[in-house]
Symmetry: C2
Subunit: 329 residues, 2 copies
């Protein structure tokens, strides 16, 4: 009763695949759409003097009867200064019945995969079913995971990769072609990537538009992943004049998501947000209606994703007897 | 570099004494008074259907270069339904330089002791130095820890214990006499306890006054520990008309502390709060000025206490080679 399961990063990797992430995140969104979650406002603070920030997300999901939180550090100088990853996370989940911790696990793998899966679920409900060409704008870790998530739900034939850093985008194209068996090409012009894509993914730390309105063809779906703080931006606000805008959480996206930008600039208002993704997954609102609609999914990341993902990893680990049991209390 | 120290409850008990708690909490308050902490608003939510709540407090303390959080479950039916404690906590602390978790530990012991120590530090700065008689109102776990904390700082000669539950207060008197060597007597009339005391501690879950204004002699110091939610109350609001009111955090106490009550009833306003305890510990404001002042310390509990306490426990454990090192990342 009082054992807590500890999962290291390598153990979490073994028990939590992209398929797990997609199912867990879809369940989290569905529960959200049904009003059966608690998803408190995240806590974030900057650690002065270290170019670092701490981000704490928490949630409760009724269907899993599970509460929990993710503690995540984002320290952008870590790779150079310490040889450490820039994002480090720990997730704790607890039994909703009595508050007893069930598991404490590395949240870096689980957290990254649940973010990848957010895009996968967004595209499942918003992109055209026959989407086969993907533009990946920003070829870092999320550029990889977003693509892996899309490959689970779509029959992708070609991927266009763009990054400001040519070496990065070239390496990405090579690596991901090998890894996925799909042709991934690196393009020097971002416009060419976007203009040929059915699904566009933006996964950069940009603070101004990198995808412009006149590049975007009718029928395109855009997963806007990068913006998760005030001041971040990846899309030309004008895109929102034509697009159906879906968010993960209204009040959060208005503050820190991509949609902060078109709202601030007066291109749209909060009332122009079509739906939360959970409402669509739960069947309360329709997703894509027309083939030539432009759709945008503004994903900022929710505590329910972390809790649902970690709960899935915990159940898988228990079933396969992976991880260390610690007598904590 | 990537090891995380895990401390179970029994290990935390070995490495974290009341003396540690008093020093850690005093340092946390001092840092707060010097403006060298980040202490975000706590996150709390009720878990529907289980008479439970989850409370998450986080902080960063510059002098320790340490960030962290406490996840605490409060489930009031746990003892009867599951044979589990009603309060269960886990604390995580991380290196402020790079976000790497340093330790994950049981937060039940550390959390309870840091709450005890809050009263100890409050009394150190606000009670008369020669205080020797203590009234403990509410003889649960905090009633015990609050007394242990006071014994570290004062030469206590007599303790008057009151609780609505006669069996509880009688057991407390016996147990604490044996444990402390000080005469602890159980009283049937709360008035008699308060009227004879130099220091009064309220540590109950009460939602209406249990200590009345005309019982309180000039020169008394009151540690108001119980109130930590809207609707909680232990003191007659009229006491605040005469008392110097010190809080742990202004904006938090106004919402959830004892001081919510006299403010709501118009007995005082927010402007009548004399100081935050941190301002006094840091030497920016004086504590007690006159022997016949009545002083109240409204302690609601801060993330900085948890982080400072856990950091102390971590350092002690490392020095004594206690706990399990886990390769987490």
């Amino acid at each position: 009763m009082t054992d807590v399961l500890i999962l290291s990063r390598s153990e979490a990797e073994r028990v939590f695949t992209m398929k797990d992430a997609l199912e867990a995140v879809e369940e989290a969104y569905r529960a959200q759409g049904e009003g059966k979650v608690i998803n408190p406002k995240a806590t974030s603070f900057v650690v002065p003097g270290y170019n670092g920030e701490v981000d704490i997300k928490s949630a409760y999901i009724e269907s899993m009867n599970c509460s929990g939180l993710k503690f995540a550090g984002g320290y952008w100088d870590n790779p150079v200064k310490y040889g450490l990853p820039s994002v480090i996370g720990v997730i704790l989940i607890a039994d909703g019945s009595n508050g007893m911790p069930l598991a404490i696990m590395d949240g870096t793998h689980v957290g990254a995969y649940r973010t990848g899966a957010a895009g996968g679920v967004g595209a499942k409900y918003l992109a055209r079913k026959e989407s086969e060409r993907v533009a990946i704008m920003g070829t870092g870790n999320q550029g990889r995971l977003q693509l892996l998530a899309l490959l689970e739900n779509f029959d992708i034939s070609k991927v266009y990769a763009y990054d400001r850093d040519k070496a990065r985008r070239t390496a990405y194209a090579e690596e991901m072609t090998l890894k996925t068996g799909v042709e991934v090409v690196s393009l020097d012009e971002p416009r060419k990537a976007v203009a040929q894509a059915d699904i566009v993914v933006t996964a950069t730390p940009a603070t101004e538009a990198i995808v412009f309105d006149d590049w975007v063809r009718p029928g395109t779906h855009i997963n806007a992943i990068g913006a998760d703080m005030p001041g971040k931006q990846e899309l030309d606000p004008l895109i929102f004049k034509r697009a159906k805008a879906v968010v993960d959480l209204r009040e959060q996206c208005i503050e820190i998501g991509e949609i902060q930008n078109p709202i601030r600039e007066g291109v749209i208002t909060e009332l122009d947000i079509y739906a939360e993704i959970g409402e669509i997954v739960a069947g309360k609102r329709k997703g894509r209606l027309e083939d030539d609609e432009i759709t945008v999914f503004d994903s900022t990341g929710l505590g329910i994703q972390d809790v649902a993902a970690a709960y899935r990893a915990y159940v898988n680990a228990k079933n396969r007897n992976i991880g260390k049991k610690i007598q904590f209390f």
